[in-house]
C-alpha cells in the first residue's frame, strides 16, 4: 500500500492523482450488472425496508392473527392432552403392538426433522453458493427449522416411556457405575446430531437476528419493548469492526452448518439402515433421506410463506421470483426422491432376496398399498409439474403442490416404518397398525405447536432479515 501522507494536503497535484487512483481502486468493486433482475421491489430504500418490516411487529396483532393463533393453540392443547395421556398411562395408549414397535411416533419424528432441513439449507448452503435471493426468506425459514426440530424432539422423548429420565442418553458420570451410553448405537448418534443441529441453527439464527433486534431497539416506543430488544441486541451499534468479524463468523458457521445439514438426516436414516429389517437395510438411505428432507422442508417453507406474504403484505420482498426459485429446488430434490424410489424398487428385485422382494410387493399391493401410492404420487409424480413455469408462478398451484408434497412426505416415513415392520420374517407374528386417538392427538398437537410457535415468532422478531435485504437492495441498480 502506498505511503500515507501526514498533513491532509489538497495542494500537490501529483499526490492528488495518486490518492484519487487509490480511492478508485478501493471502491472499484462496486459495479453492478444492469442485466440482473432486481431481487426485491425496485422502489424500496433502506428506510422503507426498516419501516415495512419493523411495523409488522410494532402494530398490535390483527384479527386474522388471533384467529389463526386460537386455532393453532387449540390444536396444541389437544396435543398436550394426548402427551399427558401417554405419560400418565403409558405407551400402551399408542396403537403399537409387539410386531409394529415404531409407528406414528417415529414417523412424526422423521417428518419434523425433515421439515427442519430447509432453514439451515437456505441460510448455510445457499449462503456458501452466494444465492442472494435467500435474504428475503432465510429468517422465517430458520425460525421454522428451529420450531420443527423442537416438534421432532418431542416424539422420541415421549417414546422412551419415561421421558423424565431423558437425560440418561447423555454421557455423564453417574452413580450406576459409571455405566456409559452405547456410542455404537445410531439412536445415540441421533441425540448428538439433533442437539448439535438445534444448537448451531439457534446460534446461527440469533447471530443473524442481532442487527435487526438493534433496529427494533432503536425504534422501540414503550419501555418494555426497549428493555426486551436492548437485552437481546447486545449493544449492537453497526460498527465496521463488528461487522467484519461478524461476517467472518457467519461464514464459518455457514461452512460448519453445510455438512451438518447433510449429516443430520443421514444419521436419522442410519436408525433404519443399520438394522436388518428388509426395506430398511439399504445403503441408499442417507442421500435418499437428505434429499427427502430438503424436499419436504422447502415445500413447508413455501406453504408457510405464501399466506405470510399475503397477510403481511410482503409481496415486494418475497416475490414470485423467490417462490419460483424455491419450486425449482423442490423439483430438483423431488426428482432425487423419485429416482430413489425407483432405485429401491430395482435393487429390491435385482437382489433376488425373497424377503426384499416381498416387502416391495407388500408395499405396492398389500394392506397399506393406499399409503404407498399416496406417497408415490405426491412425491414423485405431482412435483414434476414444477417443470412448467405456470406451476412455479401461479400462487394457488404452488400452494396446492406444496401441500401435496407435505402429505406425501409424511406418508413416505409412514410407509418406510410401518410396512417394513408389520410383515417381517415370521408370518405368525404379522400384524396391522391402527393408530389410536392418542396417536392422532400427538400428530395434530405437533402441528399445533408448530403453528403456535411460528405465529409467536411473527409477532416478536422481524420476519425478514432487514440488514441482509438492505445489503442486496443495490443488487440490480447503480
Amino acid at each position: 500500500m502506498a505511503a500515507v501522507i501526514r498533513d491532509h494536503t489538497f495542494n500537490n497535484a501529483e499526490e492528488e492523482i495518486r490518492i484519487q487512483g487509490e480511492i478508485d481502486r478501493i471502491t472499484a468493486h462496486a459495479v453492478y450488472s444492469p442485466l440482473r433482475e432486481p431481487l426485491i421491489d425496485e422502489s424500496k430504500t433502506c428506510s422503507d425496508v426498516t419501516r415495512d418490516i419493523s411495523s409488522l411487529i410494532e402494530q398490535p396483532p390483527t384479527r386474522g392473527w388471533w384467529i389463526l393463533f386460537g386455532i393453532s393453540f387449540a390444536l396444541l392443547v389437544g396435543g398436550i392432552i394426548a402427551a399427558v395421556n401417554t405419560v400418565t398411562i403409558g405407551i400402551g395408549t399408542w396403537g403399537l403392538n409387539k410386531t409394529v414397535g415404531w409407528a406414528f411416533g417415529i414417523t412424526n419424528f422423521v417428518f419434523w426433522i425433515g421439515i427442519g432441513h430447509a432453514g439451515t439449507f437456505i441460510s448455510a448452503i445457499l449462503y456458501i453458493f452466494s444465492q442472494k435471493w435467500r435474504t428475503s426468506i432465510n429468517r422465517s425459514a430458520e425460525a421454522m427449522t428451529l420450531i420443527a426440530v423442537m416438534c421432532a424432539g418431542i416424539f422420541p422423548i415421549l417414546h422412551m416411556g419415561r421421558p423424565w429420565l431423558f437425560y440418561w442418553i447423555m454421557p455423564y458420570p453417574n452413580t450406576r457405575g459409571s455405566l456409559w451410553v452405547n456410542f455404537r448405537s445410531p439412536l445415540l448418534w441421533d441425540f448428538f446430531a439433533i442437539s448439535t443441529y438445534f444448537t448451531i441453527s439457534l446460534v446461527f439464527w440469533y447471530l443473524g437476528l442481532i442487527p435487526d433486534l438493534a433496529t427494533a431497539r432503536d425504534r422501540a416506543k414503550t419501555k418494555w419493548r426497549r428493555v426486551f430488544y436492548t437485552i437481546l441486541s447486545l449493544g449492537w451499534n453497526g460498527s465496521n469492526r463488528t461487522w467484519s468479524r461478524y461476517e467472518t463468523v457467519y461464514g464459518v458457521l455457514a461452512a460448519l452448518a453445510t455438512p451438518l445439514v447433510l449429516s443430520v438426516h443421514s444419521i436419522v436414516s442410519f436408525d433404519f439402515a443399520t438394522s436388518l429389517v428388509p426395506g430398511w437395510h439399504s445403503t441408499i438411505f442417507p442421500p435418499y433421506f437428505v434429499a427427502g428432507a430438503v424436499f419436504s422442508g422447502f415445500a413447508m417453507v413455501t406453504t408457510l410463506l405464501i399466506p405470510v406474504r399475503r397477510v403481511m403484505r410482503l409481496e415486494g420482498y418475497i416475490t414470485i421470483q423467490h417462490l419460483d426459485n424455491m419450486c425449482k429446488i423442490t423439483l430438483l430434490t423431488g426428482s432425487i426422491v423419485g429416482l430413489s424410489y425407483l432405485t429401491e424398487l430395482f435393487i429390491g428385485f435385482y437382489s433376488g432376496n425373497p424377503n426384499e422382494i416381498f416387502v416391495i410387493l407388500n408395499r405396492m399391493g398389500g394392506p397399506y398399498a393406499w399409503a404407498y401410492w399416496v406417497m408415490f404420487s405426491c412425491n414423485a409424480l405431482f412435483p414434476q409439474l414444477f417443470w412448467f413455469k405456470a406451476f412455479r408462478t401461479k400462487i394457488p398451484l404452488i400452494l396446492t403442490l406444496c401441500i401435496l408434497v407435505n402429505v406425501g412426505m409424511w406418508f413416505e416415513r409412514f410407509v418406510i416404518i410401518v410396512t417394513s415392520l408389520h410383515r417381517d420374517y415370521l408370518p405368525s407374528s404379522w400384524a396391522m397398525f391402527i393408530p389410536t386417538i392418542t396417536d392422532v392427538g400427538l400428530l395434530v398437537g405437533s402441528f399445533g405447536l408448530f403453528f403456535t410457535a411460528f405465529l409467536i415468532f411473527l409477532r416478536l422478531f422481524p420476519v425478514i432479515s432487514m440488514n441482509e435485504v438492505k445489503g442486496v437492495l443495490h443488487y440490480a441498480r447503480d
Binding site: I26, T27, G177, I200, N240, V252, L253, G471
Partner: protein, 181 residues
Amino acid sequence: MRATEPSEKTVRYAAAFFDNEHDLMAIAAEARLRGFVIQDVFSPYPIHGMDRAVGLKRSRLGWIAFVAGALGLISAILLQVWTSAYDWPLNVGGKPFNSFPLFVPVMFELTVLFSGLISIGVLFMMNRLWIFSKKKIFEGVTDDRFVLVLKQEDASFDNAAAERLFRKYNAIKVMEGDKFV
C-alpha cells in the same frame, strides 16, 4: 484488527453522517490516505470492501474456529474411546470395544458444535457484545445512515481539511463529541 484496537475511552471525535454506502466507502478510503485516524465506520449492513477502505486486516477468527473444531474432535475421540474401551468395556453385539468407525458420527458432531459455539463466544467477547453493553449508538445507523468517525487525537487534527472532506462527499450531518465508548 487485532492488538491495534484503538482505545475508546476519552477521545474527541468528529462524526459525519451519509445516506449511502458508496460515499462512506470513498470518504473512508480518502480520509485514511490523507492521514486522518479513522475511529470506526458504522453502517446498517456489512459493506464489502470496507475493511480495505479503512485498512483493517483480515480477522483471525477463522483460525480460532479451526482450533476449536480440532478441540471438539479430540474431545469426542477421547470421550468415546475411554468410555467404551477403557472405563467400562461392554460387549455390544460382539463388536470390538474400540469400534472406531462407529465413533465417527459423534466425532463429527462435536467438532461442529465446539467450533460453532466457541467462534460465536469469541466474536461476542472481542466485540464486547453482551446484554449490559453500553456502547455509543449513532442515530439512524440501524436504519439507513452511514457514519464515519474520525479521531481527533491531538492538536494536529485539521478541522478545515476534515470539513472539506465531509462536504466533498455530501455529509448530511456532522457532529463532534468526546468520550467515545
